[in-house]
C-alpha cells in the first residue's frame, strides 16, 4: 500500500473513533461491523469489475442468497414440516431440475432445427405442469403447519458460521447459471440479466414460504457469539466489566459487537489476502491481460469466456458470503428489506469511490461509504434544522424539509458518485 | 496565371500525436478537372485526402480553396465552404431511404432542394427507382451512388472521393467513373484516391503518384500511364 493509502486508512479509522467519542461506541461498533461486511461486498464487486470489467448489477440477489443460507444452515429443522411433505418437495425439485437438464440436453443434440425446438418446448411446458403438480401439494402441506410460527421446513440446525461458506456456494451456483447465459454478450446485457436475477431471487424469498417463511420473516437466528443476557448473568464478565468501569448492560452490548467485529475482520482479511495474492500471481496477470485486450489474450491462448465465468462466480460468491454474514449479524432474514439501491448500487458507489481495480481501495470505499450512509441522515437533519432555524415553528416548509432530511441519503450518494467519476475517475486509491 | 481552385500545398503531418505520414505533399486541382491520387498500399493516399479535408493535424503547409486559406477550419466548416467528402466505408445512412439520405446531404441548405435531388436522380437513374428503399438494402454499387449523391446535395465546388470503386464489380466501376466524369463536366472539381490506378488515370486530368507520403510522380493521366517507373512503383519502390 502507498503512503497515501495508509493516510486514507488512518483517516477512516479516525472517523470511526470520532464517531465513538462523540456519538457513542455502540454506534461506532455498529458502523464498523456493517463496514466490514460492506467492504467484503465491495471486494466481491471489485473482483468482477476491477479485475475483469464485468458489469454486475445483481449484487442484491447474491447477498440475499447468502441470507437464505443462514436460515437453511442454522435454523433447527421443522420436523412436522418435513413429515408433512418434505420428501415430496425434494422430489418435486429434483423433477424440476431433471426437466431443465433434459431440455438443455435436447438443445445440445444436433437434430433438425424445428424438431429440436418443438421437443424442447414440449418438454419444458409438460415438465412445468408435472413439476407444479408435484410441488404444490407438498408446499401446501408444509405451509399449513403452524403458519404463524413456522410453516416452513427450517434448516439443518448447524452452527451459523457454516452458513457463510454455504452462502458463498449458493451465490456461486446462481452466478454460474447467469454467467453461462449472459457472459460473452455485450456488457449491457449482462447488466440487465443480473438486475433480473436479483429481483427473481428476492421474489422467491418473498413467496416461497416453505423455504424462507416469505414476508413473515425468519427471526431469532442462532448466533456465533454469546447473548447479552447470558453475559450479564456471568459473574466473571460482570466483574471484568466493572474493572473497566462499565455497567454490565453496556459492557455486554459492546462485547458482543466486538466479538462480531473480530469474526468479520478475520473473514475480510482472509478474502483480502486471497484477492491480493491472486492479483499478484500469474493468474492476476492473465486477468489483467484479458481486461486490457480480450482479442489479444484469446490469441495468446487464454480462454477468455472461461476466465470471465470463473471470476464472475468468484465475485458473486464473495457477495454471498457477505450476505450470510449480514443476516447472521441481524439475527433475522427479512426478504422485504432487500432494495437494489441499498444492496446493489450502493456497493457500486463503494467500489468506484474506493478505486476500482484496487482491493485496498474497494475495502476503504466499503467503510467510507457505509459510514457516510449512516451519518448522512443525522448530518442532513442537523443541516435542515440549521437551514430552517429562521422559519416559524409551524411553517409547512419547515416541517416538510425536516421530514425529508431522511431522504437525503440517496441524493448524497449520487452526488458523491458523480463527483468522483468526474474529478477522480480512478477513485481514492487508484489501481496503479 | 490564376491559382487552381483547390490546393493542398507542402502538407506535412500525421494522425494525432503520431509520426508524420505526409512529408511535404502537394496536390492541386483546377475547376471542373479530375485529379487522382494513386500509389502503392500504405503510401499515404487516403491520408493526403483527409489532410485536404481537415481530418488530421498539419504540422506545416496549407490548404486553400478558391484562393481562401482554410487550413485551420474543421471538416464541418469546410463543408460550408463548398467541400464534400465521400468516405471509403460507412458512407451512407443504412436504415434511411435513398431519398432521406439525399435530404440529409442537404441538411445545411435552407433553399428548395428538389431540383438538386432531381439532378442526382438524373445522374443516377437507378436511385430514382429505389428512392423509397432503405439504403442499407442496396447493392455495393448502388450504395456508392447514394454516397456520391449525398455528397452532391450540398452543391459543392469540390468533391472528394476516397476509393469510390472499392469492392464493386468492374461493370459498376465503369459506370461510376462515367458518372464522375459527368460531374466534373458540370464544373465541379474532383479529387479522388483510387486503387484501380490504370482506370482512374485514364479519366484523370492530373495524376499524383505518392510514395511514402511524398509526391513521387505528377503528370497527366496519359503521361503517367506510359511511364515504366510508375508501373514499377505499384509493386513497391
Amino acid at each position: 500500500m502507498t503512503a497515501r493509502g495508509f493516510l486514507l486508512y488512518a483517516g477512516m479509522a479516525l472517523l470511526i473513533v470520532l464517531t465513538g467519542v462523540f456519538q457513542g461506541w455502540n454506534l461506532a461498533l455498529t458502523i464498523l461491523n456493517m463496514g466490514l461486511i460492506s467492504a467484503i461486498m465491495s471486494l466481491g464487486v471489485n473482483l468482477q469489475w476491477g479485475f475483469a470489467g464485468l458489469f454486475n448489477v445483481g449484487v442484491m440477489g447474491f447477498v440475499a442468497l447468502g441470507g437464505l443460507a443462514a436460515v437453511l444452515v442454522a435454523q433447527p429443522p421443522v420436523v412436522e414440516g418435513w413429515n408433512a411433505g418434505g420428501l415430496r418437495l425434494l422430489g418435486a425439485l429434483a423433477l424440476g431440475a431433471a426437466v431443465l437438464i433434459a431440455a438443455v440436453q435436447v438443445w445440445k443434440r444436433k437434430i433438425g432445427g424445428q424438431m429440436r425446438a418443438m421437443v424442447m418446448l414440449a418438454l419444458l411446458i409438460g415438465g412445468f405442469f408435472l413439476f407444479r403438480a408435484a410441488l404444490d401439494p407438498a408446499v401446501n402441506a408444509i405451509e399449513a403447519i403452524n403458519p404463524s410460527l413456522s410453516g416452513y421446513l427450517g434448516g439443518l440446525g448447524l452452527p451459523v458460521i457454516v452458513a457463510w461458506p454455504v452462502g458463498g456456494l449458493l451465490a456461486a451456483g446462481a452466478a454460474w447459471i447467469i454467467g453461462k447465459a449472459a457472459l460473452g454478450l455485450r456488457s449491457d446485457y449482462l447488466a440487465i440479466a443480473t438486475l433480473g436475477i436479483a429481483e427473481i431471487v428476492i421474489a422467491v424469498l418473498k413467496n416461497e414460504d416453505w423455504l424462507s417463511r416469505g414476508v413473515k420473516n425468519v427471526v431469532g437466528l442462532p448466533r456465533p457469539v454469546p447473548y447479552e443476557v447470558d453475559l450479564q448473568r456471568d459473574a466473571g464478565f460482570v466483574e471484568a466489566a466493572a474493572g473497566y468501569g462499565l455497567d454490565p448492560v453496556t459492557a455486554s452490548t459492546l462485547w458482543v459487537k466486538i466479538l462480531y467485529s473480530g469474526l468479520f475482520a478475520v473473514v475480510l482479511i482472509a478474502i483480502l489476502f486471497l484477492a491480493q495474492r491472486a492479483l499478484a500471481s500469474p493468474w492476476g496477470r492473465m486477468m489483467r491481460a484479458i481486461r486490457d485486450n480480450e482479442i489479444a489474450a484469446s490469441a495468446m491462448g487464454k480462454n477468455v469466456t472461461a476466465r470471465h465465468l470463473q471470476v464472475f462466480i468468484l465475485g458473486s460468491a464473495v457477495c454471498g458470503i457477505a450476505g450470510a454474514m449480514m443476516t447472521t449479524l441481524d439475527g433475522q432474514l427479512t426478504p422485504g428489506s432487500y432494495q437494489p439501491l441499498r444492496f446493489t448500487f450502493l456497493v457500486w458507489v463503494m467500489v468506484i469511490v474506493g478505486g476500482s481495480g484496487n482491493n485496498y481501495g474497494a475495502v476503504l470505499g466499503g467503510f467510507l461509504i457505509w459510514w457516510l450512509w449512516v451519518m448522512v441522515e443525522p448530518l442532513g437533519l442537523w443541516a435542515m434544522e440549521l437551514i430552517t432555524s429562521g422559519m416559524a415553528a409551524d411553517s409547512w416548509l419547515r416541517g416538510h424539509l425536516t421530514d425529508s432530511a431522511a431522504q437525503m441519503r440517496l441524493m448524497t450518494m449520487g452526488i458523491i458518485l458523480l463527483a468522483v467519476l468526474r474529478f477522480s475517475p480512478k477513485g481514492l486509491m487508484p489501481e496503479r | 496565371m490564376a491559382e487552381p481552385h483547390l490546393i493542398g500545398e507542402a502538407m506535412t503531418g500525421g494522425y494525432g500525436r503520431g509520426a508524420d505520414i505526409l512529408h511535404g505533399c502537394t496536390l492541386s486541382v483546377d475547376k471542373g478537372e479530375i485529379a487522382v491520387i494513386v500509389g502503392p498500399n500504405g503510401a499515404g493516399k487516403s491520408t493526403a485526402m483527409k489532410a485536404v479535408f481537415g481530418m488530421l493535424n498539419l504540422r506545416s503547409g496549407s490548404v486553400r480553396i478558391g484562393g481562401e486559406d482554410i487550413t485551420h477550419l474543421s471538416p464541418q466548416d469546410r463543408v460550408a465552404k463548398g467541400m464534400a467528402f465521400v468516405p471509403q466505408t460507412s458512407n451512407i445512412f443504412p436504415s434511411m431511404t435513398v431519398e432521406e439520405n439525399l435530404e440529409m446531404g442537404a441538411f445545411l441548405r435552407r433553399d428548395d432542394i428538389r431540383p438538386t435531388i432531381e439532378q442526382v436522380y438524373d445522374l443516377f437513374p437507378i436511385l430514382r427507382d429505389k428512392r423509397r428503399q432503405a439504403a442499407g438494402e442496396l447493392s455495393g454499387g448502388q450504395r456508392q451512388q447514394v454516397a456520391v449523391g449525398r455528397a452532391l446535395m450540398t452543391q459543392p465546388s469540390v468533391l472528394m472521393l476516397d476509393e469510390p470503386t472499392a469492392g464493386v464489380s468492374p461493370i459498376v466501376m465503369d459506370e461510376l467513373f462515367d458518372r464522375i466524369i459527368e460531374v466534373a463536366r458540370a464544373g465541379i472539381t474532383i479529387l479522388m484516391v483510387e486503387q484501380n490506378a490504370r482506370q482512374a488515370l485514364e479519366i484523370a486530368d492530373t495524376g499524383y503518384v505518392l510514395v511514402q507520403g511524398a509526391n513521387a510522380y505528377t503528370g497527366t493521366g496519359a503521361e503517367l500511364m506510359a511511364d515504366d517507373e510508375v508501373r514499377r512503383t505499384f509493386l513497391g519502390g
Binding site: R186, S404, T412, R422 | P87
Partner: protein, 337 residues
C-alpha cells in the same frame, strides 16, 4: 354459446385490456430507453427515475390546478398538467446533460462509463423525488372512474361476466397511441427527426453532412422527457404513484427494449406488448375463463395460475434470456455495438 361469450368477456376484462394498457406503458418507457441507446449510445439506468420525476412534476402541477379550481371534467386533471410536467422534466434532463453527460461525450468515454454515470444520476433523481414528494402512495386520478362498469355491462348484455373499462385504461391507450404516432411522424417526416435518425445510423457521416450533434442530443432529451413523463403519468393514473415503483419498472422496460432490438423504436413498442402480455398471461388465474369453456366435470379445482404475480419479474427475465440466447439483436434488428 353464452358460456363462450362469457369466457371472451372474462378474458378481455382480466387479460386483454389490462395487458394492452400495461403494454402501452412499457412501450412508451422502452421507446425512451431505445432512443437514448440509439443516439447517445448507452443504457440509461436513470430512466425509471426520470419517469418518476416526470410523474411527480405532473402531480404537483395537477395539485396546483386543482387548488385553483381547474379540472378537466370527466378526464383526469393530470392530462392538462402533463405538458407542463413534460416541460419541467425536459429542463431537468437538459440540465443533467449539460452538467454531467456532455463532459463524457466530449471525452468520447466508453459506453459503460456512461452507464455508471447514469447510475449516479439515478441516485440523485430518486433522492430528489423522495425529497420533494415523499415515499407515500399518491393517488392523483380524478374524473370519471369508469367508461363502462361491470354492472352496467351485465345489465346491457345479460351476461354473467361483467366487462369494466376503466377510464384510465382508455386514456392510457389513446394517449399512448397519440404519443407513438407523434413520435413516428416526427422521426420520419420532420427535418430534425430525420437528422436524429441519421445521427443514430452513422454519427461521422452526420457530422460531414453538417448535422449539429449537440442539437440532436438536446432534442433527444426533450423527446425522452416527453415519453418518460407520459409513460410515468399513465402508469401512475392506472395504478398509483409511489417513488420507488418506477425504479422497478426498469427491468421490464429494458427487457422490452432488448427483446425488440435496442435502438429500434418499432421494436421497443413490440417488445413492450410482448413483455406485458406474457406477464399478464402467465400470472393470470385462468380458472375464471376456464369454468366457462370446460365441461362441468373437468372444471379445474385450483386457480390455474401458472406463476404467482410476484414472479412477474421472472417473466421479463425469462423472455430476455431466451432472446439473448437465440436472437441477440432482438426480434427487430437492433444496433449492435
Amino acid at each position: 354459446m353464452t358460456d363462450f361469450l362469457n369466457a371472451i368477456v372474462a378474458l378481455s376484462n382480466f387479460v386483454l385490456i389490462p395487458g394492452a394498457a400495461y403494454g402501452a406503458q412499457l412501450a412508451l418507457g422502452a421507446l425512451g430507453v431505445t432512443l437514448i441507446y440509439g443516439i447517445l449510445r448507452f443504457s440509461n439506468f436513470a430512466h425509471g427515475d426520470t419517469m418518476a420525476f416526470g410523474t411527480m412534476a405532473t402531480i404537483l402541477v395537477t395539485w396546483g390546478l386543482q387548488s385553483i379550481g381547474i379540472s378537466f371534467g370527466f378526464l383526469p386533471t393530470a392530462l392538462i398538467a402533463l405538458p407542463i410536467g413534460i416541460a419541467i422534466t425536459g429542463l431537468l434532463l437538459l440540465g443533467t446533460d449539460r452538467a454531467i453527460y456532455r463532459f463524457y461525450r466530449k471525452q468520447k468515454a466508453a459506453p459503460v462509463v456512461l452507464v455508471i454515470v447514469s447510475i449516479g444520476v439515478m441516485f440523485v433523481m430518486n433522492g430528489l423525488v423522495r425529497f420533494i414528494i415523499g415515499v407515500g402512495d399518491v393517488n392523483f386520478a380524478d374524473g370519471a372512474r369508469f367508461v363502462i362498469n361491470a354492472r352496467e355491462f351485465k345489465e346491457m348484455t345479460g351476461l354473467d361476466e361483467g366487462l369494466a373499462l376503466r377510464s384510465t385504461t382508455l386514456i392510457t391507450l389513446v394517449t399512448a397511441a397519440i404519443a407513438v404516432a407523434l413520435l413516428f411522424w416526427f422521426l420520419n417526416k420532420t427535418r430534425t427527426g430525420k437528422s436524429m435518425r441519421a445521427f443514430s445510423d452513422n454519427e461521422d457521416l452526420a457530422l460531414l453532412s453538417g448535422i449539429n450533434p449537440e442539437r440532436v442530443v438536446a432534442v433527444t432529451w426533450l423527446i425522452v422527457a416527453a415519453l418518460a413523463t407520459t409513460a410515468g403519468v399513465l402508469y401512475g393514473l392506472d395504478k398509483s404513484f409511489k417513488a420507488f415503483t418506477y425504479f422497478q419498472l426498469l427491468l421490464p422496460i429494458f427487457a422490452a427494449a432488448i427483446v425488440g432490438g435496442l435502438g429500434n423504436p418499432l421494436g421497443a413498442i413490440a417488445g413492450g406488448f410482448v413483455i406485458a402480455f406474457s406477464e399478464v398471461l402467465i400470472t393470470y388465474a385462468w380458472k375464471k375463463v376456464l369454468v366457462y369453456l370446460m365441461p362441468e366435470n373437468l372444471e379445474p379445482s385450483g386457480l390455474v395460475q401458472l406463476l404467482s404475480t410476484d414472479y412477474k419479474f421472472a417473466v421479463s427475465f425469462a423472455i430476455l434470456i431466451i432472446v439473448l440466447l437465440f436472437k441477440p439483436t432482438g426480434l427487430f434488428k437492433g444496433q449492435s455495438v
